[in-house]
Assembly symmetry: C2
Homo-oligomer: 258 residues x 2
Amino acid sequence: MRFNAESSSDGVSERHFALGEVAGVLWSPAGATAGRPLVLLGHGGGQHSGAPGVRARARRYVTGCGFAVAAIDAPAHGDRKRSDDDERFMAEIARLRADGEAIGPRIARRNAVLASRAVPEWRATLDALQAPECLGPGRVGFWGVSLGSSIGIPLAAAEPRITAAIFGLTGQETLAGAAAEITIPVEFLLQWDDELVPRDSGLALFDAFASREKTLHANPGRHADIPAFELESSQRFFTRHLLPDSVSSTAGQLAAEA
Amino acid sequence: MRFNAESSSDGVSERHFALGEVAGVLWSPAGATAGRPLVLLGHGGGQHSGAPGVRARARRYVTGCGFAVAAIDAPAHGDRKRSDDDERFMAEIARLRADGEAIGPRIARRNAVLASRAVPEWRATLDALQAPECLGPGRVGFWGVSLGSSIGIPLAAAEPRITAAIFGLTGQETLAGAAAEITIPVEFLLQWDDELVPRDSGLALFDAFASREKTLHANPGRHADIPAFELESSQRFFTRHLLPDSVSSTAGQLAAEA
């Protein structure tokens, strides 16, 4: 892993890195990196590891929770090379949109192909981030919706170091098998009026997770309309699972009585 | 409204009251009642306004959020008189259970009858609690699942003073019409393996609310298995809507970028 550039502002260190052809960003509290939980962020389709929404979420997890946070560019995203197949996909999506046809199923199949390339890239990135000279070992969470879940669900199924995950905005078609192998706590975001993912397919994917603790958060609106309060909810989810000693012990007692 | 008994412990004042034949409890921060938000708690079937779970939730909302909290006994609950019809219902439920038959539909019809009596009782209680010599006016929320929702949903549809509500553990059959009249923010709790409420009926009821902001929280487990973290989630929901000035303004900005 090669670090290319480092900057620091408002208490957050931001380091850009490359691992082979994969570029990424590591955010952490300025001056203190070792031994803290790490949240991996999977960006959405067409975005990249330094996109404004990814960066804002990362900085929030650093300042609000004290986590380290990492994101990498998915295959064919950011500055990474596009293959002929990538170009054909983008042309086909443009044609489907122009014809007013459904693009969801085509995106799901495409994302499954990207995931097969991205999962080993994420695992190699995690190896490098947890090396003694970088963060060292610690608890690991994953957050990613849409393309971030198409990659994150098979990643979490394959990678035992990930112990809590937030997924969403995707359906069962290509992912139910991997979801059935997942037993860690999961928070799943579903948009009730998602124009890309049929409601029943999203509900069936939530149903498929083998996790004893899984919680579905469904909200009105289209694919990109996740409400602001889910950001705060995600902080609490990761704090509960990655910093368990910080959670009030009275919550369990009270709820057990309710 | 007649206050019968008052006690105070750990900073929480607890006052038992009666309004006609309806008994209830008012919890508030010791020594300070006026001008703060009020959360109405609707208890579940077979419980009452002083049940341990109701009391624990009320005290949590007082100490954690600074709210006043009130609960009243539903018709035929607590020390209230049972009619011949009430006795017939309980005998019928016992028979259905013994025969291994579904009791959910019978409970839903029964709860609709109780609600027609309970809604005016709640509204009279709210009038009395908001009188100048008691709490005075202020924002009002409602929390109640199962029987608490069978009563709370028609109550919120009829009562404009309620501006945020948490419902759940009930289905569309007798409630979709009232839900369609509700436009306030709603958090809806659904148990994925509820033995009393079919999953599709609960999802259809969530769908029926006319609220622009509504959020479904679905968790694995049976009717009574709502996980502990939903208590904390409910505090945040009511804080967001009943104490809006207390919420960080950056959450919206960050999520808008995501």
